[in-house]
């Protein structure tokens, strides 16, 4: 058991790091609003795949990294990611037997919840972002989900 969890942590950390890099990769201004929340998708994958290997811890610290890198109030992304990782952990047994479409829809709900927490904290700390562009990322993220699961599970099986 011990050994197994240790083996799992490396791809976890690696994929989170790559997702973090993708989150700040410069894109043309026109495409910026379409950037999916890669790190959230990766964290959700790991909280569904192996919750006991520390998916929620990963969520908290990934969120903290996002806060520092985006320069927003400390704890904002950490809170949103932790809550959504907890929800995904709760749903994980059901998620596994879902069809691709239902999985995508569930992920869409989780990503929207994530954006909602960010939106709420933004508003509560006094610098609201009111553009509709923010609600586009969950759609793109949900569409990317099957692709991401395919890639990560292959990486995982190595």
């Amino acid at each position: 058991m011990m050994r197994e969890t240790r083996i799992r942590r490396l791809p976890m950390a690696l994929s989170a790091l790559v997702a973090l890099a993708l989150a700040i990769l410069p894109l043309p201004a026109a495409l910026q609003a379409f950037r999916p929340d890669f790190l959230v998708l990766v964290v959700l994958y790991w909280s569904i795949e192996s919750p006991r290997a520390g998916g929620i811890t990963l969520a908290f610290f990934s969120g903290l990294a996002l806060d520092v890198i985006h320069g927003v109030v400390l704890g904002q992304h950490a809170l949103a990611l932790t809550l959504m990782a907890g929800w995904a952990t709760h749903l994980r047994l059901r998620l596994r037997v879902f069809s691709v479409l239902s999985q995508c829809l569930t992920i869409f709900a989780l990503l929207t919840g994530y954006q909602f927490v960010l939106f709420w904290v933004d508003g509560a700390t006094g610098n609201p972002v009111t553009t509709f562009g923010r609600w586009l990322a969950p759609v793109i993220g949900a569409l990317l989900w099957p692709l991401l699961v395919g890639t990560l599970s292959r990486l995982h099986e190595r």
Partner: protein, 317 residues
Amino acid sequence: MVAFRNTDTSGRTTGLLLRCVLYSLLALGLIIVDKRYDHLGKIRRLLSIVAYPVQIAVASPFQGWDWFRESVTTRDALRVDKATLESELRLAQFRLQRYEAIEAESQRLRALRGSTAAITDRFVIGNLMDIDLDAFRERVLVDKGAHDGVFVGQAVLDSGGVFGQVARVGQLTAEVILISDATHAIPVQINRNGLRTIAVGTGDMSRLKLPYLPTSADVVAGDLLVTSGLGGGFPAGYPVGTVAEVKRDPAQSLADVEVKPAAALDRSRELMFVWLKPQPTASDVPANTPAPAAPPAPSTHAAPKAIKSPTAGAPSR
């Protein structure tokens, strides 16, 4: 394709949910502490050092590509570049010829009036890092930080005019909020008639607004806006933008004025951090002013003092 390999199918998640609640509370606590108090500055600065390698790793391929493109330019292209730069420099020098005399004169006149304006003391050039911070906020990351003496609220210029101000400082990086950010406002005045107002960002890099001018205000398209220096954050007299459009609706009490920023907010790569010379305090101004003010002759000894500011900035370029 969408298959999970894991066979961990036990439904016991109480421990995990407890952990989730704990982390959420911790995150909430962080938000409150970060928002209400200023204790987390140091922690954030330390964390920004940890984030630095990731930022460098993302930015370096783009910088490498720029470097590569630069190093394979042809001789002809370089020659054309050199010619245009030389003509630009000549033009700038022509414009500068009278600058020092005028600066000295303005100093004397200000001394006569007993008023002092903040003078720029020195510049440090920072380079933009190729990193997207947030798609919905107008912010950029620059490779100068607390290590180089950058501080929060510091004015940042580019070659065209005012670019923004420092919003957050890390050890090696600083976050600059653009004047076009929807939460940013900058005190300006119209260069033609000295009318003071505030230019507010719109969230669109090509546009600012002047929302507090009455319909009767003397403002026309083409007016140059410069910083007024009020508030002390920005040095006075730097271009902020030109008025692009003035809409006057007689039914409204305020005019709808759009401004095109002078700085190339979406293109500039090199930014200047500005340090202001500490202002003489109000108490020692009246004591000093009568002496140089009485005869107009001391222009010779007043001039070198005033010239110091532009020349001090030159070597650091």
